[in-house]
Amino acid sequence: MGLSVRELERQQKIRNFSIVAHIDHGKSTLADRILEHTGALSEREMTEQVLDTMDLERERGITIKLQAVCLQYKARDGKTYTLNLIDTPGHVDFSYEVSRSLAACEGAILVIDAAQGLEAQTLANVYLALEHDLELIPVINKIDLPNADTNRVKRELETVLGLDGEEAILASAKTGEGIEEILEALVRRLPPPRGNPASPPRALIFDSHYDPYRGVVAYVRVVEGTLRPGMSIKMMAGGGTFELAEVGIFRPDPSPVAELSVGEVGFVIAGVKNVKDCRVGDTITDADNPAAEPLPGYQQITPMVYCGLFPVDSNDYQALREALERLRLNDAALVYEPDNSAALGFGFRCGFLGLLHMEIVQERLEREYLLELITTAPSVKYQITDTTGKIKYVDNPVDFPPQQEIATLAEPFVRATIIAPSTYVGPVMELCQDNRGEFRNMEYADENRVVLTYDLPLSEIIYDFFDLLKSRTRGYASLDYEYLGYREANLVKLDILINGELVDALSSISHRDQAYYRGRELVDKLRGLIPRQMFDIPIQAAVDNRPIARETVRALKKDVLQKCYGGDVTRKRKLLERQKEGKKRMKQVGSVEVPQEAFMAVLKIK
C-alpha cells in the first residue's frame, strides 16, 4: 500500500528530540525557553521550569520522571513543524530510562555550560546518543556569564567528542539568545521520522505514570503503524492485552487526538492498573494484527542498591506497606519484600536503581506519608558460589552463608568516568585507589582538564564516594558510571555484637583489607551513641566470628533524683516522663536499649 502524499508530508514535518546535559548546565531553563518561544506556554503561565513537576525535582534541581511536550514551530522556510520534546532524567541511576527516551528520538540537543565545559555526564550522554544514532546539536549555554569560555568548550567538543566545534550554537537560556537558531537547527539538521503508517503498529513506551482516576498513562513514540482508540493492544514483552481507551498528545496539557501515527509522540490510556504491566522499553502493538518483532532494547529493570526500611514505631508497619504499594504503582523500578530483623522488627527489604533513587523513595515515604524510618546500610547484590558450586545472589548481609561454605564471592563493578581539573588528578586517583579502583585510562580534555576512567566496585560508590570526590576537588569533579558486571573479590561479612548479641541490622559486607578499619570506626562510633545503662556493655566488631575490635560503654553509676522537696512532684514526674519517652524510641537488643542513631551510624562509616 502506497503512502498518501498528505501522510508523507505530515511525517516530513515531525522532529523528535531530547535535551541532554550535565546537571546544572541549564537543561530545564532551555526547555522552558523553547516552550515559550513556540508559544506552548505564555510567559504568565510559566512557573519556573515547567517540565519538572515533582516537588522533589524542583528542590534538587534534577529531573526524575520524564515528560514529553508537543510543540508547533513555524520555521523560516514558512512551514509549520511539529517538534516533540522528550525530556530525560539527569541522573546515572536512571540511565535505562534515558536510553529509552533517546531511542524515541531522531536527535538531541547537547547542552554544555560555557563556563564549566564538558562534564562526566556530558560524555555519558553523548555516548548514549551516539549508540542510538542520534543527530547531535551541541549548544554552548550560559554565554552571558562573565567567565564563559566558548573557545575552550569548542576545543573540548573536538578533542574529547570528535564533534565539530564550529557547529555548536551559542546560546543563553537566560536571555533567550540563540533559541531561534536552536529551533532552526532542529528543523534542518534532524531527520524526519521514518516508518510505515500502514504496517502493524509498534510503539515504544519510554515512560509511564499512574493516575489515580485513569490508571496508567503510558508515554509512547509510534515507530510504525497507527494507534487508535478502540483497538485491542498488546504489550509485546509484558504480554498483557488491553483495550485502548484514549490516545493524545501534550501541548503541554494532555489533549486527546483521534490517532497517533508514525513518528508521533503522545500518551496512551488503556485501563492498565499498574505500571508493572506497562514497562518502560516495552513495545505496544495491535493484538489483532501484531508486529512480528518488538522494538529492540527492552530490559527488565534490576535494582542495583538494596537496603532495609523499618518503621521507628513498629505500629507503622502496615502504613509503610501501603505507602510502598502506592509508590510502586508509579515506580516500576522499586522492588520490596517483607523483612524481619531481630533488632528492628518487621520492615521491608527494598531494591533501588541507585543511591539517588533510594534517597528519593525514603524522602517521599517520610515527607508524603509522614513515616519515621530506620534505614539499614545500603548494599549491592553479591554473587556467591558455594563449595558445591551452586550460585546464589544475596543483597542482605544477614543472608550471607558462613565463610567456610563460600567458595568464591563476586560483586558488581562499574566503569566510572571522572572529569576533573588536572590539578586534582592526584587526590582523585588516590580516592579511587582507596576505594579499590582499577585504573583504566587517563586523557586530557584540554590543557587543564583530565578524563579519568576507573573500574570500581559499585559497593564503594554507594557509600560516600561522590561526596568525597566533590570535597577533594572543591566541587570541580564530575562523575558518571556504567554497569560492567560481576568480578571476584575478597569480601567478608562484618558483624557487630552488642553485649554479646549479634545485631543483624548492623552487619555489613566489607573488603577483607578494610574490615579491620571499618570495624574499629563503627565500634567507636557506637560507643558514643549507645547510652549508658546499669551494666557495662561491650561492643564488638567480628569477622568470621573472630572479634577484631572492641569498646565498652561503661555502666551508669546511679540514676536517681536526689533532690525532691517542696512538694513539686509534677516537675519530677515530667522529668521521668521525658526519660521514658526517650527510652520508648529505642530498640531493644537483648537487654540493651539501642537508639535509632546507632543504626544510622553504619551508613556513615567508610
Binding site: 551508669l556 536517681v560 536526689q562 512538694g567 513539686d568 512532684v569 509534677t570 514526674r573 521521668l576
Partner: protein, 379 residues
Amino acid sequence: MKKIGLYIHVPFCVRKCYYCDFVSFPHHGDKVRAYLAGLERELELYHHLLTTVKISTIYLGGGTPSCLSPAELAVLFALLDRHIKREHCLEMTMECNPGTISRAKLQAMKAVGVNRVSLGVQALQDEHLARLGRTHKLAEVYQSYEMIRRAGFKNVNIDLMFALPYQTLKEWETTLTGIMDLEPEHISLYNLVFEKGTQFYHWQRDKRLPPIDEELDLAMYQLALDLLPLAGYRQYEISSFAPRGLECRHNLTYWYNEPYLGLGPGAHSSSGKVRWANAGSLEEYLAALQGGRKPVVEREELSVELQRAETIILGLRLKEGLGRQSFRERFQGDICSIYAKSMAKLQGQGLLKVTPRRVSLTAKGLLFANQVFLEFLPG
C-alpha cells in the same frame, strides 16, 4: 476530719546561691511587706479549708525564712496565729541559714510553736561555701547551731550537699563526721545538680566548672550510706537520715502521697487527685491576690493511672517502701497484679524487693531509682 500538711514558702534570701533554682528574691523591706500582705489574703481565701482540716505539720521553707528581720518575722507569726489552728500540729519546721538567726528570732520561733529547725549547712569548708555562693562561713555554722540548741530546740535537721566542684572524698568525709559530731536529729543529703537557669548551669556549660564526676558522686553517696548508720542515722528515704521516730513528718506527707496545701509564691499543693501550683513571680502572685483570686497558675487533675504511678514513685523513695495493703485500699487492686510485667522485670534486674506486705527498692534499686520509677509511669 481530713489531715493535711501545710507548707508556707518564704521567698527571700540574703542573696541567691549559685546552684539554687527555687523561687527566691533578695531580701528587700518593701517586697517583704507586700509579700506578707499577700500571704494574709491567701490565708483568708483558704479560710474555709484551713478551718475544716486538721493541720498535722507545718513547714516554713524558702528561700530563707530566717533572713526576715525580727519585726517581719513577728508579722509572719502573727498571721499564723490568726489563721492557723495548731492544736493538731505535731511538727512545725522552719528553714534557717547560718548567720541569719539571732536569739530574738529563735525566741519568737519558739513562741509561735516552731519545734524543728532545718539548718542549711551544705559543707564544712569555707572554700566550698564560697564557691556555692553561700553567704555564711564555717564559723557561723557552729555559732548558729550552738544558738539553736541554747534556745532549746530539740529537733534539728542539717542539709548537706555533695559532688560539689573540686570537692574531694576526704572533704566530704570531714563534713559528714563533723556533722555527726554535732548530733543533729536529722540529716538530709543532696548531690549537686546543675539546674537549668542557675549560675552554675551557665558556668558548667561555659566550662568554667568541671562536670560532675559520677564515680566520685557515687562514692560520696556510698560513704554517707556507710557512715551515717554507725552514728544511729538510719536511711529512711533516698536523701533522708534519722534515728527511728525522728523522721520528718512533713516530708512523709509527700512520700505517702497524702494531701498538702502550699502557700506563697511558687508553692505546690496536692489533694491526691489534683495538683496545683502558685505563680512563681512575686508580681503575679500579688496581682492575683489583690484581685481577690487564688494565685494558682498550674492545675492538673490526675487520672487514676497517674495517681497510682505517683503513689508508687513517691512511696518507693522510702526505705521501707510501699505497703501493699494501703495501696490496695487506695486503688482497689494489688500492685503486684496491676504491674505484674514491670515488677517481674525489675525483680529480675535486682532493683525491687517484694514481700507479702511491702514493695521496696533494693540497695541497687536505690541507686537506679529512676529506672524503677519509669516502669510505673503510664504510656
